[in-house]
């Protein structure tokens, strides 16, 4: 069984700080990590591999340094990885990204595609379903459990107030929540293998079959008109007094604002 896991390298947005003076984002020095939902997808694939055997293939689209997260995937136990990197892919929105990844997946071939629900920098949750559409596969979102049953995949999907248990014939695509599992650590030997023994193939624009009109900035129906820091709300009053004074302060303020 062949499983492709789509992995994105993202800045650790939990570590990003706003410059207190200018109100702008301080991006420098922010470490790059494997997107947490994607790590959970990779872990899910590795568990299927542990249980019933499978070939786990990592795939990423990004700048050259995205190689780091693919090496991490190999160190965790993926069998091989592909990096799609080319200037031509740059500036892609979710349509162009999902088209590009789908083209690569079609070429590599697989039974199951696992992706994270969303990336912590884009937060759209659109690429997974987009890939499924381009490949003509069913997509099962928000998986909190995945099981293989013969040539079917059975997924427990977490909707807002219900859990759906859904069965689909493979090939299929499943998007995974980071709550699904606790990803394993790499092993030191795995790290050495990732750099010395395992295959990491780099593909440029010409290595995949795709039309120019579906890649990169030119292939993106949406584009960013502008980005700006959030308007900083003026802070109110903060006091550091005893408990009784604090409580009185709160009650007075709530009355003042007609909340009480």
């Amino acid at each position: 069984m062949k499983i492709i896991v789509c992995i994105k390298q993202v800045p650790d947005t939990n570590e990003v700080r706003i410059n207190p003076e200018t109100g702008t984002l301080m991006r420098e020095g922010v470490p790059s990590i494997m997107n947490p939902d994607d790590k959970a997808a990779l872990e899910a694939a590795l568990r299927i591999k542990d249980a019933s055997g499978a070939r786990v293939i990592g795939l990423s689209m990004g700048p050259r340094q995205a190689e780091d997260v693919l090496r991490e995937a190999l160190a965790m136990g993926a069998d091989e990885c592909y990096l799609l990197t080319d200037r031509a892919f740059g500036g892609a929105d979710t349509w162009a990204t999902s088209s590009t990844l789908a083209a690569a997946i079609k070429q590599i071939g697989c039974d199951l595609v696992l992706t994270g629900r969303q990336a912590i920098d884009g937060d759209t949750a659109q690429v997974g379903p987009g890939i499924a559409e381009h490949l003509g596969m069913p997509n099962l979102s928000y998986a909190e459990d995945i099981r293989i049953d013969g040539s079917d995949v059975i997924v427990r999907q977490q909707y807002d107030d219900s859990i759906y248990t859904v069965r689909a014939a493979m090939p299929a695509l499943v998007t995974v929540l980071s709550e699904l599992n606790e990803p394993r650590y790499m092993t030191p030997g795995g790290i050495f293998d990732a750099y010395r023994e395992k295959e990491l193939t780099v593909w440029g624009r010409d290595d995949i079959e795709i039309e120019d009109e579906n890649i990169g900035l030119k292939g993106s129906p949406t584009r960013v008109a502008k980005s700006f820091p959030k308007s900083v709300k003026a802070p109110g009053m903060t006091i550091n007094e005893g408990a009784d004074e604090s409580v009185q302060f709160i009650v007075d303020k709530l009355k003042e604002k007609y909340i009480l």
Binding site: R71, A75, P188, I191, F192, A194, R196
Partner: protein, 378 residues
């Protein structure tokens, strides 16, 4: 001369750091206060291959280099000196001895187990044989297809939780140090018991106990290396162990420095953070410089070991320097914390207590000076 870590080593260091912060640090204070051996941590470390880093994949090891192993001990020790020495004694000494002189069958049976799910210990020291390690009183008498062990060992790290012990004993007292042999002894062997756990100044979570052999019979094939060659094996293995302890000491020192930097930025006296005072700044500069030099001596010794050439000199220097540094830095760390440094809620007092032993075990600083001067004077 390339002083940068390779990509693999950088990634490995990050792995060890993440594991240390997430799995080891939360328990550090607790295992010290309760004098509790961290079984759950050792199990996790076995699971992720941290207990067999520098050994061949042929016997279930991770197939990495010594420097990667040093990074593991350093990062673990940074948050918990106890966890660092558990790994070091197990890897450098117990597994190291078997890797060095074990037969293929012994490696298959014991090294594989140590790499994957069993803990090891190294038993050389006796009540009357510390620095004078050659004065072994424990005896191993050949009897048919067995050896019979009698005697006792003290201050053995991992004693109790460990399943596999490399034990040194006198097979021929008339030969002096050339009458010493090494054996592999499994826990549970009749006649092999443990004494009470020692109450130590520091590394409280590390299990340090006496081993007592009373007519303990072990199979002949558990002789490790050749009869009479045990002392050489012990000395050679300890060279590797010194690199591990140096790594532990560097880690403890770095951990103490990290805590101190965070503290001095927050602590305010005389209307400002004490990090603004020049004395504090100068002390931090000194601490960092000492740590960096100890670190690179340690990395140098690790690299030298992997070339296959003799490395006793570098290993002794690394341990001598690193252990002194750990004591200097951790003591100064307590001082810079002021009164709070003496309080157990703040980790630096534990680090200071943990640091002391690095100048003593696996060869005292005096022995290190003997090795180094011996090399200088030829």
């Amino acid at each position: 001369m390339d002083f940068t870590l390779s990509k693999e080593q950088q990634m490995a260091r990050q792995l060890f750091r993440d594991f240390a912060v997430k799995e080891v640090e939360p328990l550090a204070r607790e295992i010290d206060e309760e004098h509790r051996f961290p079984d759950e941590t050792v199990e996790k470390m076995h699971k992720y291959g941290f207990m067999g880093i520098p050994f061949s994949k042929e016997y279930g090891g991770q197939g990495c280099d010594t420097l990667t192993y040093v990074l593991a001990v350093e990062e673990l020790s940074r948050v918990c000196g106890t966890t660092g020495v558990i790994v070091s004694a197990h890897t450098s000494l117990a597994a190291g001895a078997i890797d060095s002189k074990g037969t293929a069958e012994q490696k298959e049976k014991y090294l594989r187990a140590l790499n994957t799910d069993k803990l090891g210990a190294f038993a050389l020291t006796e009540p009357d044989a510390g620095t004078d390690a050659g004065s072994q009183r424990t005896t191993a008498v050949s009897d048919g297809d067995e050896y019979v062990l009698n005697g006792s060992k003290i201050f053995i790290t991992n004693a109790g939780p460990a399943d596999i012990y490399v034990v040194f004993a006198m097979t021929d007292a008339s030969q002096g140090t050339r009458g010493i042999s090494a054996f592999i002894v499994e826990k549970g062997r009749p006649g092999f018991d443990f004494g009470l756990a020692e109450k130590k100044m520091g590394i409280h979570g590390s299990s340090t106990r006496e081993l007592i052999f009373t007519d303990c019979r072990i199979p002949r094939e558990n002789l490790l290396g050749r009869e009479g060659k045990g002392f050489g094996l012990a000395m050679g293995t300890l060279d590797g162990g010194r690199i591990g302890i140096a790594a532990q000491a560097v880690g403890i020192a770095q951990g103490a420095l990290d805590k101190t930097i965070a503290y001095v930025k927050e602590r305010k006296q005389f209307g400002r953070a004490i990090s603004k005072f020049q004395n504090t700044q100068f002390q931090l500069a000194n601490m960092a410089t000492e740590i960096e030099s100890a670190r690179y001596l340690t990395y140098l010794a690790a690299e030298k070991k992997d070339t296959g050439e003799r490395y006793s000199y570098e290993a002794a220097m690394a341990k001598l320097k690193a252990s002194r540094t750990a004591n200097y830095v951790s003591s100064l760390a307590v001082q810079l914390h002021g009164g709070y440094g003496y309080i157990q809620d703040y980790d630096v007092e534990r680090m200071m207590r943990d640091a002391k032993i690095t100048e003593i075990y696996e060869g005292t600083s005096e022995v290190m000076q003997m090795v180094i001067s011996g090399s200088l004077l030829g």
